[in-house]
Amino acid sequence: MMIAVDMLLLTLLGITAVAVIRTRSLFGAVLLMSIYSLLMAIVWYNMQAMDVAFTEAAVGAGITTVLLVGTLVYTGREERREPRVHWPALGICVATGAALVYGIQDMPRFGDPAAPIHGHVAPEYIAQNAPHGDQIGPGAPLANMGHHVPNQVTAVLASYRGYDTMFETAVIFTAGISLILLRGAPREKGRLFRRRRRRAPRARPRDESETAGDG
């Protein structure tokens, strides 16, 4: 059952990926990308990887589609016609793909409990989070979480990866602040990005001549 669903989904994914490349309409390509993300989310879901499926659906099908539609405001609807195949680029892509496929052969079997990733810190986390009662003294684990979070995956994601998430948030916050400082805060209320600038900052090369003309 799982295999049948996976095969059907991966076939659909292949069709969608080829269609995204082949279509000339940028608007159609954005919608097909959204479909691709939805199908990919089902594939993750079918592998029982809930958090990845969530992220794929929220970021891939949700936010990325909105951002790409926002890009369409600036680019227009149709792709410029470039029929020639760029052979060096094709060669590099094929070579990279072949190297990646070659690298897959060294990976452990899917779901293998002896895989290196399952032997690094996971046993320690599981031991710490397992119910111990009020075990104190020698032999007690270093940090006794005492089954505080019943679900192990939630414990790792929300508790042990808390620092990871916190500093990710700090990085994204810094990036946002930097962007606002570089671009200048939007003056018009209710619009994040202005379409036409009145006072040209040094964001794009085209604007530099205007700034020089003013000075």
């Binding site: 059952m1 659909l12 069709i15 608007f27 159609g28 919608l31 939805l38 199908l39 969530f54 994040l192």
Partner: protein, 84 residues
């Protein structure tokens, strides 16, 4: 029974994909994408029952909300030619 329903939904997804690929107007594509999102929600619920974990229904709810967001943005772009 749930497995057969899942396969049927996958066939429906294939048909929506064909409409999204061929769709002569933008609205065909938008409708196909939106309906495909709805089918995703149903498929997620069905597969939850197939794997005997019906608590996956919560995930289907989140998918429904996300699907709504993207469609809103696309329709706003069609109507006003800009976002925000």
């Amino acid at each position: 029974m749930f497995a057969a329903a899942s396969i049927a939904i996958l066939v429906a997804i294939l048909l929506y994909l064909v409409r999204a690929l061929l769709g002569p107007t933008a609205f065909d594509r938008i409708l196909a994408t939106n309906a495909l999102g709805t089918k995703t929600v149903i498929l997620v619920s069905l597969l939850g029952f197939v794997y005997e974990r019906p608590d996956f229904l919560d995930i289907a709810l989140v998918y429904a909300l996300i699907n709504f967001l993207a469609t809103l943005a696309i329709l706003k772009f069609i109507e006003y030619q800009r976002l925000g």
